[in-house]
């Protein structure tokens, strides 16, 4: 199962710093769909950086079970 690391406000939305998906996702687009379906507040985050193995991922980027996924929303504090 894929485990996702969460940063910034994504932690609050999910209620933890990691999330283990309970159904498979083939790519980043499906991951986003998964997140928005279970946590509707993700739909409001129009700019969301998803990293797969520490590389910027596009919607079509394929996700494997062993990949390291990070969800990184923008933060603005200073």
């Amino acid at each position: 199962m894929v485990t996702v690391k969460l940063f910034g406000i994504a932690k609050e939305i999910v209620g933890g710093s990691t999330l283990t998906l309970d159904s498979p996702v083939a790519n980043v687009e499906e991951l986003l769909h998964y997140l928005r379906e279970r946590y509707p507040e993700f739909a409001k985050l129009t700019s969301l950086l998803i990293a797969v193995n520490d590389e910027y991922a596009r919607p079509a980027t394929v996700i494997h079970d062993t990949d390291e996924i990070a969800v990184i929303p923008p933060v603005s504090g200073g």
């Binding site: 940063f7 409001k44 985050l45 990184i72 603005s76 504090g77």
Partner: protein
């Protein structure tokens, strides 16, 4: 003067001068460099302290705030004696005491689309330590337009981000910028700031110091600049990761500066028939707590003299002749007897003169008399 060091400077910077890949050439580059630090808060404090100590020749500081007690938990540039002072004033006193060789350019104002290009122009590097999305997009876009590298950092609770945007590498290619990472801002309700979300004080020190380190690398050409990579640090797990990211394709063409508050959804444009309302209770509270607001009475002079609650008299029929009497940068509350004339005035001012800061006192003077008490 700019091409050599005094004996005092040679001793002061001696640990840099003996540093491999740095030496006197690196120190001279610092001395000749002009860096603008946007925001003298949590990130600005370590940035300014280390850039001053390191010997960056010219440092611009832009901040319009004053030092508050709740700042001292992380903004180590300031002390108890700075409370209530403008940040730039307190900062320059402390920094000059640290290193008298630095030229400081001070801007006690808010960076806006109107002044950004003028202020940023001429700086070699900009370091963005602001605390809000509109200013972050503004700084990014202005740097792209002017071709200035933007050393960015941002903090939230226990986490920080650092990156160098718009950096022209040794191959002459310009690296990605903030919009390649985050093309659009999140809506305001998804953005807790430090005041609402909290922030670990020492995080500002860690991340601001990383930012200072990247500024020094950009100037001296030492090492590999954090361009095309976003560094993320989580102090709870004490883990860092560096995410590589490319320029977006298609890219985001930045042609001019825009209204960034609107871009970030801060002041949604009002429809031509929409007026913001304030109740007499709300107004009473604002006045009692000493909020800086302008009150305008749009009734006739005769009505104004019979009963008024302290507003400036600008009768409705005269309002277009007195536009310059109406503030554009603070909350302005307009009122009349029951709220009809003031609504008319606001619609006209919004639609023809583009005011966005006007509020109608719901129910006017009559509501005030009924709910608060007899006006004077």
């Amino acid at each position: 003067m700019n091409n050599s060091f005094t004996k005092e400077e040679l001793i002061r910077y001696s640990r840099h001068l003996i540093l491999p890949e740095f030496g006197e050439p690196g120190q001279l580059k610092l001395k000749k460099a002009k860096v603008l630090v946007v925001g003298a808060g949590g990130l600005g404090a370590p940035l300014l302290l280390y850039l001053t100590a390191a010997g960056v020749g010219t440092l611009g500081i832009i901040d319009f705030d004053e030092v508050e007690l709740s700042n001292l938990q992380r903004q180590v540039l300031y002390g108890q004696e700075s409370l209530g002072q403008p940040k730039i004033k307190a900062a320059v006193e402390r920094l000059t005491a640290l290193n008298p060789h630095i030229q400081f350019n001070l801007y006690q104002e808010k960076l806006t689309s109107a002044n950004a290009l003028e202020i940023l122009k001429g700086y070699d590097v900009v370091a963005d330590g602001t605390d809000n999305f509109p200013t972050r997009y503004l700084v990014n876009d202005a740097c792209v337009l002017l071709g200035i590298p933007n050393v960015y950092a941002s903090i939230y609770r226990y986490e920080g981000q650092v990156a160098v945007f718009n950096y022209t590498g040794k191959n002459g290619n310009r690296g990605p910028n903030y919009r390649d990472l985050y093309p659009t801002p999140p809506p305001p309700e998804m953005v807790p700031n430090c005041a609402e979300g909290g922030v670990l004080g020492v995080l500002a020190g860690i991340v601001g110091s990383m930012q200072a380190s990247e500024v020094i690398k950009v100037i001296t050409g030492t090492g590999t600049v954090l361009s095309g990579r976003l560094l993320i640090i989580d102090t709870l797990s004490m883990e860092t990761r560096t995410v590589k990211y490319p320029k977006a394709s298609p890219g985001h063409e930045i042609k001019e500066l825009i209204d960034y508050e609107e871009f970030c959804g801060m002041n949604k444009s009002l429809s031509p028939f929409e007026v913001k309302e304030i109740s007499v209770q709300e107004l009473n509270t604002l006045l009692k707590t000493g909020q800086d607001i302008q009150l305008i009475d749009v009734r006739t002079a005769f009505e104004h003299h019979i009963a008024n609650i302290g507003g400036d008299l600008i009768p409705l029929e005269d309002i277009v002749n007195q536009i310059d009497q109406i503030s554009r940068d603070k909350q302005v509350v307009l009122y009349c007897k029951v709220g009809i004339r003031s609504t008319e005035a606001i619609l006209h001012l919004q639609n023809v003169y583009n005011f966005t800061n006007l509020y109608n006192l719901t129910g006017g003077i009559s509501a005030w008399a009924n709910e608060i008490g007899k006006p004077g």
